[in-house]
């Protein structure tokens, strides 16, 4: 579903749709006339109706071409070829079916309607009107000429005029009715834009919250729990580095801007490797197994999200599990890269963790979901914890700014 065509395109689309409708009706008319002529011939072998059948064939072709290409050239060609063909058709039918009767009148009427309904280029209502007025004049002119030549008189059938009036009124009603809800339509388009912007802002706020959680909040917590006296030099270095980045640089646009490019990080320079190294510096024994090269399958955004998320999982192991060993297993399929973080600690029940516990929700779950990934946690009190992070490998699958398909 979508929110509809903007007003300026609607007029054009409706004109085009109307032209295609008219052309289809015209094509069906020719096909049925052909079927009618063939069935009459089959029913009565004394009738020489084959010239009429022959006259319909080029009209079927030009009608199809005029609908397919919708150019002035093919439309004019259709009328130019259709006029003589209709004349030829009427001549054959009127001369063979004496008197003309209801069957003959039906065939002549339908071919007249068929030629009259010229959709044309579908550019505007004025053009459409001009096209089928031309069609009516040419078709009715051809039939009148044939009838006058053979019978000495002619009658304009009311049915044909009725179809002309009906088609014209529908076209004009369609045109007149295209103005009612323009304001609402533009409200809707504005709402769609606002929604996209809000979504963008929401994503950026979430990213920035994750960064804040991992840096400032982490440092403040470390200071609040630090012993009095000299500050840990490692902590001092990290605070200095983070302050420089957070206050002095455009960290938010930096981390996001690289998202679209195809930069591939190899394992040595990957954020995941750095995250594991930092956890090891904090005293955690981390065993890394699996396909290390798989991280190169992630795009920059995916890789940038994975590193800090795994780091947060490892920090959680240090803080909450009571164990100082963890395993990080990396494996990949063509569609996604999966990282499993396992510890043999005391485990927990996710439902029982406090609503204000931000680590798993913000730094892991939210961050990974923002790059279209998923996080699964298996933990049983007493039996350790496993966290599975999956991130799509395909760059396109990471498209999250506008997660809608072309036609939803």
């Amino acid at each position: 579903m979508s929110i509809g065509l903007p007003a300026h395109l609607r007029k054009q689309s409706v004109s085009l749709a109307f032209a295609q409708t008219i052309n289809t009706v015209s094509f069906v008319c020719f096909a049925l006339v052909l079927a009618g002529v063939l069935s009459l011939s089959a029913g009565d072998s004394t009738l020489a109706l084959w010239p009429a059948a022959l006259a319909v064939l080029p009209m079927l072709v030009t009608s199809w071409l005029a609908n397919y290409y919708r150019t002035t050239f093919y439309t004019v060609a259709h009328i130019v070829i259709g006029g003589p063909a209709t004349y030829w058709f009427a001549l054959t039918i009127i001369s063979e079916l004496q008197p003309l009767g209801a069957a003959g009148q039906y065939l002549v009427n339908v071919i007249t309607v068929g030629l009259m309904l010229v959709g044309g280029t579908g550019r505007s209502v004025g053009w459409s009107l001009a096209w089928f007025t031309t069609g009516l004049v040419v078709a009715q002119g051809a039939v009148t000429l044939a009838s006058w030549q053979l019978l000495g008189h002619t009658v304009v059938p009311p049915g044909v005029i009725l179809v002309y009036v009906a088609a014209t009124s529908v076209l004009i009603t369609l045109r007149m009715s295209q103005r009612g809800v323009r304001r609402v339509q533009s409200d809707l388009h504005r709402a769609a834009r606002d929604d996209e912007l809000a979504h963008l802002r929401f994503g950026l706020e979430a990213t920035s919250a994750a960064v804040m959680h991992d840096t400032v909040l982490g440092h403040l917590a470390a200071i609040a729990n630090a012993p009095f006296g000299a500050i840990n030099p490692q902590l001092q270095r990290e605070i200095t580095r983070d302050l420089e980045v957070i206050v002095g640089q455009e960290w938010l646009s930096e981390s996001e801007r690289t998202a679209g490019d195809n930069a591939r990080a190899d394992w040595q320079s990957s954020a995941l490797n750095a995250a594991i190294a930092e956890a090891q510096e904090m005293g955690l024994a981390v065993e890394v197994t699996g396909d290390l090269a798989a991280v190169s399958q992630l795009d920059a955004r995916g890789a940038a999200a994975l590193g800090p998320a795994v780091k947060q999982c490892l920090v959680n192991v240090i803080k909450h599990s009571g164990a100082m060993q963890a395993e990080v297993a990396i494996f990949a399929s063509p569609e996604e890269v999966s990282v499993l973080i396992v510890d043999a600690g005391k485990g927990f029940d996710e439902a029982e963790t406090g609503a204000d516990r931000l680590g798993l929700r913000q730094s892991v779950r939210r961050r990974i979901e923002l790059v279209a990934g998923t996080v699964q946690v298996w933990s049983t009190p007493g039996f350790g914890t496993s966290v599975m992070i999956r991130i799509p490998a395909d760059a396109d699958a990471n498209e999250r700014l506008v997660p809608r398909s072309a036609v939803e």
Binding site: Q20, I231, Q362
Partner: protein
């Protein structure tokens, strides 16, 4: 033609455009009734069974009424069953009007009944998918042909039966296939535009990314610069942690954490309502205890956002009385909007009809109940 444009209706793609095109449906509904009445009166001297002719007219009238009511903007979308019902009634009406002639000599002009079927097939085009339109059109044409064949076997026709059958099928086939072409053309135009618009929107978002990122970062840095940065700055310079530092660090950590928890829990709907209504206490206006607003799709968010803004800026409903509740159901969520109407019924109905038309397409089961002066609108959506 792609499978997508085959199976989707013009109404789903462009609910407002379809609402705009409703005069055509009205014209068609009135037109078939007028056509039927006029032709019945003109043929009155050859009608052998007037009761059957009247019954046929009544069937046409009920098909017209069904079309008018079922395509109304405040109703559920026009479904496949309704489609079959309307065309079925008209096929039956054609059978009855044919039977009403008895064994009288029949003219090709008597096939106005199939013209009625054809016009209706075309009028339904915006409401049903292309594939269904084609199928129903062909089935109706075959039915009309069979009825004509049966009638030609009991009456003295001056035309060969095959021509009579073709003549009766012509309006049904031509108009129903024409209607399908209309639906297909609009659906394709729409798909093309949608693709282009998506690309343009994406480019636009990329341009705005930088601006939004800077503003978000500025917000953060402003908060940090107040207390946190001076503290961390002085700590790294002094290299010594004092009890006072610890207390301040704990205090700041708690306030930042509190801010972040609030942000994480905030939902888009509350922001939109707060922005539109300028309300400080959004909790009273919006109640979403299960946090289901986040499960809406982009189209649903867009439609609801536009409707909320329209209500907030219009004077059809009393702004103070608007309440929005999202509750859990077995399969998803239901949104219940209640409000007190502060304008005439025709005024709020016509002003809000376009929004209802859009909501009805993007959500499921839209129900509007109005007992002056209170208005209740319910609609549902699936949640993962």
């Amino acid at each position: 033609m792609s499978a997508t444009t085959d199976s989707i209706t013009v109404q789903q793609l462009d609910p407002l455009g379809t609402l705009d095109g409703r005069p055509i449906s009205k014209l068609a509904a009135a037109g078939v009734l007028v056509l039927g009445t006029v032709m019945t009166v003109l043929n009155s001297d050859v009608i052998a069974h007037p009761l059957l002719a009247i019954a046929a007219l009544l069937l046409i009238a009920s098909a017209s009424a069904t079309l008018l009511v079922a395509t109304g903007p405040l109703r559920a979308p026009f479904g496949g069953r309704m489609h079959a019902l309307v065309i079925g009634l008209l096929v039956l009406a054609y059978a009855l009007s044919s039977a009403s002639l008895g064994g009288q000599e029949s003219q090709v002009n008597d096939y106005w009944g199939t013209m009625v079927i054809g016009i209706m097939c075309m009028a339904i085009a915006p409401y049903r998918p292309v594939r269904e339109l084609v199928t129903v059109g062909i089935v109706a044409a075959i039915a009309a042909g069979v009825i004509t064949l049966v009638q030609s076997s009991v009456s003295d026709l001056e035309v060969p039966p095959m021509i009579a059958v073709l003549a009766s099928m012509t309006p049904v086939l031509a108009l129903s296939l024409g209607g399908s072409a209309f639906a297909s053309s609009l659906a394709q135009s729409h798909a093309r535009w949608e693709l282009r618009a998506r690309r343009a929107a994406l480019r636009q978002l990329e341009r705005q990314h930088e601006i939004v990122a800077r503003s978000v970062q500025q917000d953060r840095v402003t908060i940090l610069n107040r207390d946190v940065v001076p503290l961390l700055d002085s700590l790294t310079k002094r290299g010594i942690v004092t009890p006072e530092d610890r207390a301040r660090a704990a205090e700041y950590a708690e306030s930042i954490r509190h801010l972040m928890v609030t942000e994480v829990n905030r939902n888009w709907l509350e922001s939109v309502v707060a922005d539109s209504f300028g309300a400080r206490d959004v909790g009273i206006l919006v109640r979403d205890p299960h946090r289901l607003a986040a499960a809406m799709t982009a189209s649903q968010r867009t439609a609801l956002r536009a409707a909320i803004l329209a209500v907030a800026t219009g004077d059809e409903l009393d702004r103070e009385s608007v309440r929005l509740v999202i509750e859990k159901t077995d399969v998803g969520a239901v949104i219940i909007v209640t409000a007190t109407v502060s304008s005439s019924e025709s005024s709020w109905r016509s002003s809000l009809a376009p929004y209802f038309a859009v909501l009805r397409v993007v959500f499921t089961g839209l129900r509007i109940s109005y007992r002056s002066p209170s208005l209740i609108v319910r609609f549902t959506y699936d949640t993962p």
